[in-house]
Symmetry: D2
Amino acid sequence: MLAGIRDPSLRARGLEKISWARRFMPVLDTIAGQLDLTGRRVGLVLMLEPKTANLALTLRDAGADVIVTCPASEVADDVAAALAHAGVTVLARSDASPADDRDFALRMLREGLDVLVDDGSRVVRLAHAENLLDGLVGAAEETTSGLRPLRVMEDRGELRIPVLAVNDARSKYLFDNVHGTGQSCVMAALDLTGLQLAGEVCVVAGYGYVGQGVARYARALGARVVVSEVEPFAALRAHHEGYEVLPLLDACPEAGLVFSATGVAHTITGEHLRAMRPGAVVAVAGGVPDEVETGDVPPGVTVLAEGECVNCAAAEGNPIEIMDLSLAVQALAVEHLVRRGHAMAHAVHLMPAELDERVARLKLRALGIGLDTPSARQREFLGSGL
Amino acid sequence: MLAGIRDPSLRARGLEKISWARRFMPVLDTIAGQLDLTGRRVGLVLMLEPKTANLALTLRDAGADVIVTCPASEVADDVAAALAHAGVTVLARSDASPADDRDFALRMLREGLDVLVDDGSRVVRLAHAENLLDGLVGAAEETTSGLRPLRVMEDRGELRIPVLAVNDARSKYLFDNVHGTGQSCVMAALDLTGLQLAGEVCVVAGYGYVGQGVARYARALGARVVVSEVEPFAALRAHHEGYEVLPLLDACPEAGLVFSATGVAHTITGEHLRAMRPGAVVAVAGGVPDEVETGDVPPGVTVLAEGECVNCAAAEGNPIEIMDLSLAVQALAVEHLVRRGHAMAHAVHLMPAELDERVARLKLRALGIGLDTPSARQREFLGSGL
Amino acid sequence: MLAGIRDPSLRARGLEKISWARRFMPVLDTIAGQLDLTGRRVGLVLMLEPKTANLALTLRDAGADVIVTCPASEVADDVAAALAHAGVTVLARSDASPADDRDFALRMLREGLDVLVDDGSRVVRLAHAENLLDGLVGAAEETTSGLRPLRVMEDRGELRIPVLAVNDARSKYLFDNVHGTGQSCVMAALDLTGLQLAGEVCVVAGYGYVGQGVARYARALGARVVVSEVEPFAALRAHHEGYEVLPLLDACPEAGLVFSATGVAHTITGEHLRAMRPGAVVAVAGGVPDEVETGDVPPGVTVLAEGECVNCAAAEGNPIEIMDLSLAVQALAVEHLVRRGHAMAHAVHLMPAELDERVARLKLRALGIGLDTPSARQREFLGSGL
Amino acid sequence: MLAGIRDPSLRARGLEKISWARRFMPVLDTIAGQLDLTGRRVGLVLMLEPKTANLALTLRDAGADVIVTCPASEVADDVAAALAHAGVTVLARSDASPADDRDFALRMLREGLDVLVDDGSRVVRLAHAENLLDGLVGAAEETTSGLRPLRVMEDRGELRIPVLAVNDARSKYLFDNVHGTGQSCVMAALDLTGLQLAGEVCVVAGYGYVGQGVARYARALGARVVVSEVEPFAALRAHHEGYEVLPLLDACPEAGLVFSATGVAHTITGEHLRAMRPGAVVAVAGGVPDEVETGDVPPGVTVLAEGECVNCAAAEGNPIEIMDLSLAVQALAVEHLVRRGHAMAHAVHLMPAELDERVARLKLRALGIGLDTPSARQREFLGSGL
């Protein structure tokens, strides 16, 4: 049986990276001291890098037995080694084959999890398909594109556990999707190519939270941004923000850099790729399989990271401060599922508002930001019919 | 009895302004050709300027008997004259006293309206207080701050007509509140003072849709913007957008320009005003009465437009293209109330999504903006549990 | 003979506006206390509004005999009345004909000036043409477009007085041309039309200091900006700033708003105007006569302010804080000419660097901005060949 | 004697990176076909990465004998291997000691160069100190901080060769210093730390071209930027661009990220470092030795790249498109020195304007950007005294 990590000797460097990130994660730090997960087994399916490692350590410190897995393209072997050394069960290697990755996920599920923290709902769906749901109290899912199929399953009556929609917590999507993924995907694309955006035409397919973030950062770095959309309000918003809005195929010929931020398969098809000029670069922000049809890339056009999420496959994911928020929500989601999961319907649930707001308030406190409080006269006004 | 308009001789200039605006209102124009309000009486309580005049004319062309009123500080007498000449009943003069304004509103209500289009819910509340609701099928309200008291009334069981929350249509608040009010209030403040924002500190109290717009345009014009908030997510969003976030009182001493965008009375109190430096200027964007406590302004501090909404009292309101959207929603709201109002509960209702989307699609068509359509493979993906 | 002002009774309102502006002019205020112009006669040819009025008063307070003139389209009669009441000779009326304007300028020249402060070099050139240079020690010119013909005259040996290029002082062009004219022209155009820039295409012809400012503020307000240029470095800079760069004729068809910022006659020709779509609006920022060929405007296209500088003819010019800098340079230029003009060559001279820097340092002091000072080790480094 | 490259086996990967970059270097490509350097020996002292490798190959293709050296911290061994394989003499290893680096430079000089292309003027100064100037026709220097000591040497009469100030070519500093170094230093700092700028306070010491670029990109990525300066006009410009301006020591306590962009030693001293909060990160953009006093860094504060230029030591330098401009200027500078160097004074010379403009025009052509041409009427206007 394949060992769970690639190279144990890398642990010192991994630990150093984990500790660096921890310095900038005050929210997770505070929550860490308040959790109790004694005797629970928690499976994490997250890009394995220094920030998510801190979630694993936080859950372990709260008493949980923690197992981590992750597809090969998103594994930092040094971080994996450090986690394994710290007593976390790690099943994640940068040299794993797709079959190994699937095998790791199955091994994790067979350990008998109480709670599963998933990314893209790949393992939740695998657990359903393979009938490995026994004992699983519930799962947390952190992406827009992972929630979509779970909601389809719910509609069809096929969902057999409660799922907490971590993605839909305001502490998560307002910051992680817009600012985290926006900044990190744009930067990863520039880093991989050595190119700049000043003076370049950048096309963004999809103007949801991720697309808004990508568009904003691309423009900030000097690009002329063109947005394509299927939804009229999103298109109008992009127009009013000063972006040109065009059907994707019309936008392709002039593009230097094209981002797909739809989370929908077959967004960038062979027809789109053939419409691009030589030198054009394509990247996926967020992403689902086949979002770019990579089977048919014309010479001269480059698809970064083989069409996988560019900041996960080719960089270390989102900025630390953003992940501090998102992982704090995850930690609270795990505790909530442990405590309440048995009583929850087999459906996709929003995070309880008080947990969401607790994360936001802890972040504000860590930043030293003070809020105002409505005065007595203001409260009176707000309650009146005036 | 006071004549409804101040100076009929101004009508030529008014007509010219109305026609100029009409050139940039393709959405209202299209809808105008599709309405039928034959035999209905509609009361409009809107800032009286060239754009709203086009709504009045549109309703009249659709067969309605239209009556317009408006507080003195928001009346353009030339536009009033042109409307009166065109057969609209106008009760609005720039030289009216507050008592006259109230009298005008009562005269309008006593005419026996089918539908009332209100701004700030002043006249809806007056109609309730004075028991002048007979025959009134329903009302439309276009502001955040006007809806708040109506919802309080609904909660108390005091609302006696259905109200359409025009403000909460996406075609309205995503553009009118953010871009329209944002741009026009910042520009009105600069226009009134002759000052610039480059290098200035601008404080924005409240980071809702209006506050977001004001902050964005103030920063765009070169200001360092400080935001104050009572709500944690709004505060965090402002922080991530790059604004400094401070309690309002802490922000006042350095401010050159202070906007209140809360829609809550007593936002800027005497204590805040006294904390400002000489030369500081205060303005209200949107606004309710007493949002700035103007009774106690220290020398050296200037409150623009006597604390009323700065772009209504001191300029011509929102840009034409934005008003084209908002007034198109109003027109559809009137028709919806006429057709369905009798069957609607005495509550605050959202605009039907299909009407909202119809406005958005007409605007896109007018702009020549094309949307993509999901392909068969994409629709299959979206419907699948993958 | 036509009276120099239109309506003396307006003086109270004029005085109030002058006093308001003065509150935001600390640099001119400080310099005012340091000037001595006893017994000199100074002619001012400046847009007559509250800020320039403060220059007139400053020079008068320094002991000068001050005469002001200005073309009719740039006169605020209330300010003119206030200045006249304060002892300044004013020859400027909003109802003057072009012939009157010329007559006013000649009357001013015939009074026997020591120093002439000009705007666009119209009166300097008139003085040469009419041979009215006797006794004139020198002139100051504050615009790019006014200096150009004076430099041509210098090259031809036709310049008969020394000219201080106030425009080329860094305290002037870095702020007045970029920020002052940029902001005020964009705002004046929006104010005149009631339109917005969010989502609009705005074309800027010329990417010098004024054009850079117009482009920046237009984009800040949400426009997609297209720049046209004749000079390769300017074009490349615009491209790297994220603007689309196109030949003007190619840019016209999509434009909603077109600014000419070249200061060159015949920039926007009939051919360009005919290429524009109905609803297009054209404005001049800065400007020389015939910059837009207004003889041939197709129906549907609107040229604002009859092709004159849009923020002078249709608004009150540049923001107060910017004018504080520019007028402070003017005041020092007058004093410099009085003291040194007799010894200066008949050429266009730069402002002495120490006067320019004096203005900048006074502004920093007024803003409360502290500079660092190189340490001893840094000075040693800077002086070394290391 | 130490081999000139570290690992010849890396050449395939190096070649791939060089070829990728070449695709985005149309200007250098065009110039490459026009150069003739047959029989000349050219020494290059440039960060050794894929873009500069293309300059080496271009010069070799033009017939020159090319030698490349570079300090260890700026060497990509794979690129070095590829260049060596292509027939360029490479003396640059990532594992070289400072003594090795110096030895490499001396070995290069002893080969007998015709022209030296330097970066930071380290080798030009070494050649003077070691008396290795025989046969050297001239040198090109591409940095602001490298030119400063050469100008001191010129003033002292110690400069013994002509130097072309490549840095001062408009095709270079308007793009490389502002956009190239600005973007790449900000991105390198974020990449190294995993942090974000949204909501962060970023201090920029020095508001020259590099500092302007750093400030712009940091703000674009969401930071609140504080600028410190010693020069009054630079400080006023930063203020008008909307940055807070403070003395450096006052700015340190709140800073999350501090950039030095002064090019002056001892800019960030122990006193500044001690004033920073735990978690603060310091980076140098551009840079000279000792710009940050790294001997005395308090715990909790991190200095990136040991105080060397953060985008050179920790990333691959400037974006390709920008380097296409800068390296094209370098190529023309080499040819100019070869042809005219013997007749040039021992001084720092500006690039001839026609060469500078040639680069700009080639770039515009590569971008497909068209310029306007003044019409006959415009040329007449420009030549007239009107």
